[in-house]
């Protein structure tokens, strides 16, 4: 089945005009599959880290949201051990008007502002609530440990 024009255009635009701190390239054998790299945002516990993600556009895209997962381990209350991300626009708040770029920007923003009140990794979230400084310290360590380029 042929690739929708939208996906081609998105791919082209991501290459031609990448968002700062984000890169996404599709696999040559599967144009719906993207290798994604997000730089940890400045002033965040993830600063300096380089996080790899995978992104897959399902058949229904853009009516259905893309599937995105962190490949790099990350200490974040909204991202679990398997790299799954708790982000509303990837679930019920998806809208076909959103794009790969906007999704990745949202994820980048999520790194800047962890939200322990809507956790996916319960233990991390608890840690964040109980002792935020300590949790941030842990996150920095993990970044150093797992996400150093």
């Amino acid at each position: 089945m042929s690739l929708p024009k939208r996906i081609i255009k998105e791919t082209e635009r991501l290459l031609a005009d990448p968002a700062p701190g984000i890169s996404a390239t599709s696999h040559e054998d599967n144009l719906r599959y993207f290798d994604v790299i997000i730089a940890g945002p400045d002033q965040s516990p993830f600063e300096g880290g380089v996080f790899r993600l995978e992104l897959f556009l399902p058949e229904e895209y853009p009516m259905s949201p893309p599937k995105v997962r962190f490949l790099t381990k990350i200490y974040h209350p909204n991202i679990d051990k398997l790299g799954r991300i708790c982000l509303d626009i990837l679930k019920d708040k998806w809208s076909p008007a959103l794009q790969i770029r906007t999704v990745l920007l949202s994820i980048q923003a999520l790194l800047s502002c962890p939200n322990p009140d809507d956790p996916l990794a319960n233990d991390v979230a608890q840690h964040w609530k109980d002792n935020q400084d300590e949790a941030i310290e842990t996150a920095k360590e993990w970044t150093k440990q797992h996400a150093s380029a």
Binding site: P4, K5, R6, K9, E10, P62, M63, K93, S95, P96, A97
Partner: protein, 1036 residues
């Protein structure tokens, strides 16, 4: 100006022979009455020697009495009445004092009237009596003191016995009394009486007297075989057999009663109207065009300068020599015959004038230019009557400084009747409420500031009585008919109706005027705008206007005759253009001949009435060089036939079948006319469906089961269901559009991309939040959410909930240079209401640099209608071609205007609206806004009935008539609000008509004479028949 207006109605004219020739007489006749005879012995002497004046002689037959006296041929005899009746030479009795004897004497059969005329020897010895048919008129003349007689025996019988025939020559002499003008009570019969009587056929004693006098004098003229040396050529030589005047009073009285039974007055056909106006159109050229004074800031067009000259001369008629000396149409000119053996003095009048219709006699030349200072300005709508009147105000102003020396001013400027009151320097303009501001604005704009202009309306009426007489009185005071009426009613409230209607009474006792600034003023000029408002002389408004006091009176109307000749009478009466302002005159000479199908004659007379009184030019009137006086841009009226959409048609057909069933039922029962109102309501509903089915939603609630269930071919369907199907189930709230988004759409020259599929938006739709997406994308998305049990929302901003029905289709197009001169190419490709018609021009051509970018939006599943679609198609197209074009949309249903408002909002049109619910302030505001070039509103919505009169909408050049009215004239009038003077662009008018609907039938009815609406009175069999025919046609 016009200082000599008030020549008292006295004898000065006779004594001063230079004046007699130099001054066009404005009084009816030579006025000589008892009171005036004491004025100056010099005059008295001349008249004494002049009267009785020889008129002529006839041969008559008398019969001898008793044989006691022998006479011989050649002997002079005298005539006398056997028993002078109650009313003899001693003078006319006061009203009421002798009514008993008169009524029994003439009207009743009980008492035979006394006509006996004796002739006697010089010493008074009775010889015999005149034959009855001669005596009948001679006796009257003697009783009224109009004539004196002398006889000479020609042939005496050889055998003298009672009853023997005597042949005599009778010489007739007119007395001075005959030349006395009829008193106001006689001349103005209708003024004092008719309007206040329910039955106009009732004759007062004055009317009876007048009739007898007419009969007697006319008969004398006929018997003497007097032939006029001159008559007014317009009327032509008088038909000597005019029954009404020469038959005996008893007969004519019966004839009059007959006429009164046929009370319905014939309508004036259009063709006849043309004839009427033709004369008035020619008039007015006789004066050199006149420029307004410098205080007037406007420049007048040539024909307006002619109008100014004409009006100025009408107002100053007296001071301005023999400009227009035509013999009054009712008068005939006679020469005095020379009596044998009598010398005629050179300074004696050689001619006299006789009015056979009133039996008045005069020594002065009666011109048709009446005392009335003013006239009817009847230029067709759009020629600038307002400006013409204003130029007159500028040109002919009263010097306010004269108010300082009241006495001097009075003698020059007050009328005889209102000597007690002070002249006001104000021009009073009475107009319909909706025109108040237009008048005020025009008046202010026309003036360099030297005119003081005030509006007398509503709450701002707390004025002192004397305000208008003071130096700071406004030059122009504008008020409404309603204000005039209400002040009049409150002033006259306590008085009985008889004195209320009597202008003479009112004038003689001006005391009642105290308490109203409006009526206390004796204006320098009164102008009635849209004067056909007082066409019915019995209405209180008309009476109130008659009571406004002024020397100069102007009636301004584009339609002085709306239906009947009597419409004109009221205007003439207002103008006090005597004798036409006398209802008896009018009736005898115009109404009755007209009713008796003697139209030519009646029309001729009316034209001669109109000629000096009326100035009328139409848009087609040519100047002396044959050019149109007014070059208005073209006006193209096109009927656009639209088909119903399917759901609309379902509704219409259901309603129609329902109506037809009902109508047929009434037909069979013979109760159509009884149920007229209900049928009319059905018709209204059908017409509303043609506009938009929503207009009847909620009004079609079933009152009983049979009415609610409508049969259709698919079985019974509830009307409500159809409506529901049509209107959808979403709520009616219409979000407002973000103008910025529209602007973005307008400004981007690239075709935009759908944010979902990233394709060019071939069939983009807009969310209520103004986000644009492909139709298919958003539909997929909505479907998806629906599957998940979620409400729809905008994919971009998540605003919701959204259903498919909320989506608005839009398409963009580059309009290249498509300006089509004069015509509108659009109509060729969109006729039939095909919505796709305009998409043809949708731009694939992204670099169409020549044209403006046009965004076309349309609500997806908007509860539009064929007509709304057509309207929007036109409006959008016009906006694309020239965004500054302004349009006017007329509908008779305000509900329809509501819907138009919605659809205009949807498409981001700025609009204004004017309907009956608006206050005067609002209307003013709205009209001014629409005129302002920078104002964003390009569309004006007007309810047909609120916008019919007077409005100036020349800012617009497009007119859309959403629905036809029964009478096309109403529509035409509405159109002329746009296509009138001041219009600089060609005017394109679209009349939307739904195919195969009641509207098409209305169109065909429009083309016929009897419109349903005009027959609503339901008092005439013919009208009923016509209406039945029309109804049957509609429901066929």
């Amino acid at each position: 100006m016009a200082a000599a207006r008030c020549v008292p109605e006295h004898l000065t004219a006779i004594a001063d022979s230079s004046r007699k020739t130099g001054d066009p007489a404005h009084t009816q006749g030579l006025t000589l009455n008892a009171g005036s005879s004491s004025r100056g012995s010099n005059k008295r002497k001349i008249l004494d020697s002049f009267f009785p004046r020889y008129l002529g002689e006839i041969t008559i037959i008398g019969y001898a009495l008793g044989g006691l006296a022998k006479v011989i041929a050649g002997e002079t005899v005298l005539f006398e009445r056997t028993r002078p009746s109650v009313r003899n030479q001693t003078g006319r009795k006061k009203k009421g004092s002798s009514s008993g004897s008169i009524m029994t004497g003439w009207g009743g059969k009980a008492l035979k009237e006394n006509n006996v005329v004796r002739f006697t020897k010089q010493d008074g010895f009775e010889i015999g009596r005149l034959q009855v048919d001669t005596a009948r008129w001679v006796s009257k003349l003697m009783d009224y003191g109009l004539a004196e007689f002398q006889g000479t025996i020609i042939l005496a019988p050889t055998i003298w016995k009672t009853g023997a025939e005597i042949v005599l020559i009778m010489r007739c002499y007119l007395t001075a009394t005959a030349f006395a003008s009829l008193g106001p009570n006689q001349r103005l019969l209708s003024k004092t009486n008719s309007p206040s009587f329910v039955n106009e056929a009732l004759e007062t004693e004055d009317e009876l007297d007048l009739k007898h006098r007419k009969y007697a004098v006319n008969t004398m003229f006929r018997e003497l075989a007097l032939i006029p040396v001159a008559t007014n050529t317009t009327v032509g030589p008088r038909d000597q057999k005019i029954e009404i005047f020469t038959s005996t009073p008893e007969e004519s009285s019966i004839a009059l009663n007959d006429e009164n039974e046929a009370n319905e007055e014939a309508e004036v056909s259009d063709k006849e109207l043309d004839v009427l106006y033709e004369k008035a159109q020619r008039y007015g050229r006789d004066f050199a065009p006149m420029d307004p004074p410098e205080s007037m800031t406007y420049t007048l067009k040539p024909y307006q300068r002619e109008a100014l000259a004409w009006m100025y001369h009408k107002e100053c008629a007296l001071s301005n020599g023999n400009q227009h000396q035509t013999l009054h149409p009712l008068w005939e000119e006679y020469e005095f015959k020379k009596e044998d053996g009598h010398e005629t003095k050179s300074d004696e009048p050689a001619k006299y004038y006789f009015n056979p219709y009133s039996s008045e006699l005069s020594l002065k030349f009666p011109t048709s230019d009446q005392a009335c200072r003013g006239g009817i300005l009847a230029d067709e709508m759009g020629l600038g009557k307002t400006i013409e009147i204003l130029s007159l105000v500028h040109a002919n102003r009263m010097d306010k400084s004269s108010l300082d020396t009241p006495e001097a001013a009075f003698s020059r400027l007050t009328t005889c009747n209102s000597m007690q009151r002070r002249m006001s320097p104000t021009t009073l303009i009475v107009c319909p409420m909706s025109l108040l501001s237009q008048w005020r604005d025009e008046a202010i704009n026309s003036s360099d500031g030297s005119l003081k202009i005030e509006v007398y309306y509503g709450a701002s009426r707390d004025w002192s009585d004397e305000k208008l007489q003071q130096r700071d009185a406004p030059d122009i005071l504008i008020t409404s008919y309603g204000t005039v009426l209400s002040e009049y009613s409150s002033l006259k409230g306590g008085q009985d109706s008889k004195s209320l209607s009597s202008l003479d009474d009112i004038k003689s006792q001006n005391a009642w005027r105290r308490g109203s600034a409006l009526f206390n003023g004796n204006y320098v000029r009164v102008v009635l705008d849209e004067a056909h408002q007082i066409k019915s002389r019995m209405t209180k408004t008309a009476k109130a206007c008659y009571a406004l006091d002024s020397v100069r009176r102007w009636a301004v109307t584009g339609t002085p005759i709306q239906n009947k000749l009597e419409d004109l009478f009221s205007l003439v009466h207002f103008l006090q253009a005597e004798p036409w302002s006398n209802f008896s005159f009018w009736r005898t000479f115009i109404t009755i001949p007209f009713e008796s199908k003697n139209n030519d004659k009646a029309l001729k007379v009316v034209t001669s009435v109109l000629e000096p009184l009326v100035l009328r030019r139409t848009k087609n009137t040519k100047d002396e060089n044959g050019n149109s006086i007014l070059i208005l841009p073209d006006r193209i009226i096109e009927i656009e036939y639209l088909p119903f959409s399917e759901p609309e048609n379902d509704i219409y057909q259901a309603l129609f079948k329902h109506g037809k069933t009902k109508f047929n039922h009434y037909c069979r029962a013979g109760t159509v006319l009884k149920n007229y109102a209900s049928i009319f309501q059905l018709l209204v509903r059908l017409r509303q469906v043609c506009d938009h089915p929503l207009l009847v939603v909620g009004k079609a609630k079933p009152t009983d089961s049979s009415e609610g269930t409508l049969a259709s071919k698919d079985g019974p369907i509830l009307l409500e269901e159809l409506m529901a199907k049509f209107s959808g189930d979403s709520d009616q709230t219409e979000p407002t559009f973000g103008a910025s988004v529209m602007q973005n759409l307008m400004s981007t020259s690239e075709t935009s991309e759908c944010p979902v599929c990233f394709e060019d938006m071939a069939d983009g739709v807009l969310m209520p939040c103004m986000h644009a997406v492909c139709r298919s994308c958003v539909l997929d998305y909505l479907q998806l959410r629906d599957n998940k049990g979620e409400k729809g929302e905008c994919p971009i901003c998540r605003q919701g909930p959204i259903t498919e029905a909320d989506l608005i289709e839009y398409s963009t197009m580059n309009v290249t240079e498509q300006k089509i001169p004069g015509t509108d190419a659009e109509c060729t490709n969109v006729v039939g209401g095909n919505v796709l018609g305009f998409e043809r021009t949708k731009s694939e051509d992204v670099d169409g640099k020549h044209g403006d970018r046009l965004v076309q939006v349309r609500r997806n599943n908007f509860k539009s209608s064929a007509k709304l679609d057509a309207l929007m198609r036109h409006l959008n197209h016009v906006r694309g071609v020239d965004p500054s074009t302004k349009s006017v949309v007329f509908s008779q249903f305000t509900g329809m205007l509501d819907l138009v408002e919605m659809i205009l909002e949807r498409d981001d049109f700025k609009f204004l609206r004017l309907d009956g619910t608006h206050s005067q302030m609002n209307r003013e505001h709205t009209l001014t806004a629409f005129k302002t070039p920078d104002h964003p509103a390009t569309v004006m919505l007007i309810s047909l009935r609120a916008g019919g009169v007077g409005l100036n909408l020349t800012a617009a050049s497009r007119v859309y008539m959403l629905d036809p009215w029964w009478n096309y004239a109403i529509e035409a009038q509405a159109i002329d609000r746009v296509h009138r003077m001041g219009q600089t662009k060609p005017v394109l008018v679209k009349r939307f008509i739904i195919q195969n609907s009641v509207e098409e039938k209305i169109l065909s009815i429009q083309n016929r004479k009897n419109a349903l609406a005009s027959g609503l009175g339901m008092n005439k069999l013919e009208a009923q028949g016509a209406r039945m025919e029309e109804l049957q046609e509609i429901f066929s």
